[in-house]
């Protein structure tokens, strides 16, 4: 538990763990880099739409296991933002931190 002390570094680490599990299923030329600038959605990504779904599901599960907070990444807000929070590892981490904080405050 301890969602209020969740640091961005920790959340990025959880995304990297999710990337590890997705990379296991991807061919060599489509492997995702474990870097904050890695593009996950839109032009410039090596992930197809199903790959992104699997990454988000895996990341949600990492948050539940590690932080102890159930969140839903693909909520209405995420889908309606002009700039998708799923665009890069960095933006995904920021969005997840926001949801974790909201869930802890609820």
């Amino acid at each position: 538990m301890g969602s209020t002390t969740t640091t961005k570094q920790r959340v990025v680490g959880l995304i990297y763990e999710a990337i590890d599990s997705i990379n296991d299923t991807l061919p060599d030329q489509r492997q995702l880099d474990k870097a904050e600038a890695t593009v996950l959605f839109g032009s410039g990504t090596t992930l197809d739409s199903l790959g992104l779904v699997n990454l988000l599901v895996s990341f949600e599960q990492q948050i539940i296991d590690d932080v102890g907070v159930p969140i839903t990444l693909a909520d209405e807000r995420a889908m309606s933002q002009r700039s998708s929070p799923f665009r890069t590892v960095d933006t995904l981490a920021d969005y997840a931190m926001q949801l974790i904080q909201e869930s802890a405050d609820a």
């Binding site: 199903l50 599901v57 949600e60 599960q61 539940i64 159930p70 839903t72």
Partner: protein, 233 residues
């Protein structure tokens, strides 16, 4: 002894859901049930949650807890459902929302959250509840039938989306079974309804568990996106 397999059944306080709990407990499953109210079912392999199936966070929290306590879920049976007979011209929108919430949103939420757990293990069986009221186009059941038609579409599309994770998604479409759901339907209406079935008797609980048994057996891994209607409808 290996851990028992885990089955989640929604709407287990009474009726068909209660029957299915007892049926699968007798067959050595660990059964997780839920309803809005407490259940009086006591069994060492039965776990009950008080949750509204249409409450997103409630469903999420329940399944996080199930995963922590039991490790995962092999089978989901989306039994929870409500009906309300009324002419379309006299149907309040609040009734429509209530029926869609329980029958469709509830089914969707349990499918989504359980499939996340199932996909981690690359195995799962989901059985949803349709109804003969949809193919028979029963007057007075427009909203109930529409909500279940939505469940059928959900079942068929999900079957394709989840096939990659070795999760099958099917539906059973019961005929009327003598439960609270049809208690208020006039006898004459029921007789007319039964007359439209190939086999004109009331459904029994065992008719439903028989179809579920077929869908969830390991050998049925090539059966997905199907709806089996009972009674020859």
């Amino acid at each position: 002894m290996p851990d028992p397999k885990v089955m989640v059944i929604t709407g287990t306080r009474k009726g068909i859901g209660r029957y299915l709990c007892e049926y699968y407990l007798q067959r050595d499953w660990a059964v997780v049930g839920c309803s809005r109210e407490e259940s009086d079912l006591q069994h060492e392999r039965y776990l009950h949650y008080c949750v509204d199936v249409a409450d997103e966070m409630g469903v999420k929290k329940m399944l996080v807890d199930v995963a922590a306590k039991l490790g995962g879920v092999e089978v989901l049976v989306n039994n929870a459902g409500i009906a309300s007979m009324n002419h379309i011209l006299l149907t309040p929108v609040s009734t429509v929302r209530k029926i869609l919430d329980t029958n469709f949103i509830g089914t969707f939420l349990f499918c989504r959250e359980t499939a996340k757990l199932m996909s981690r293990r690359q195995y799962g069986r989901i059985v949803n509840f349709a109804t003969v009221a949809a193919p028979l186009k029963l007057e007075g059941e427009a909203i109930y039938a529409a909500s279940k038609a939505a469940v059928v579409s959900l079942t068929q599309v999900m079957a394709r989306e989840l096939a990659e994770s070795n999760i099958t998604v099917n539906a059973v479409g019961p005929t009327p079974v003598k439960t609270d759901l049809i208690r208020s339907v006039p006898q004459e209406k029921m007789r007319a309804l039964l007359a439209r079935q190939a086999n004109q008797r009331y459904g029994e609980m065992r008719d439903i568990s028989n179809v579920i048994d077929f869908f969830i057996k390991p050998e049925s891994d090539f059966v997905t996106g199907q709806v089996i209607y009972l009674g020859g409808v």
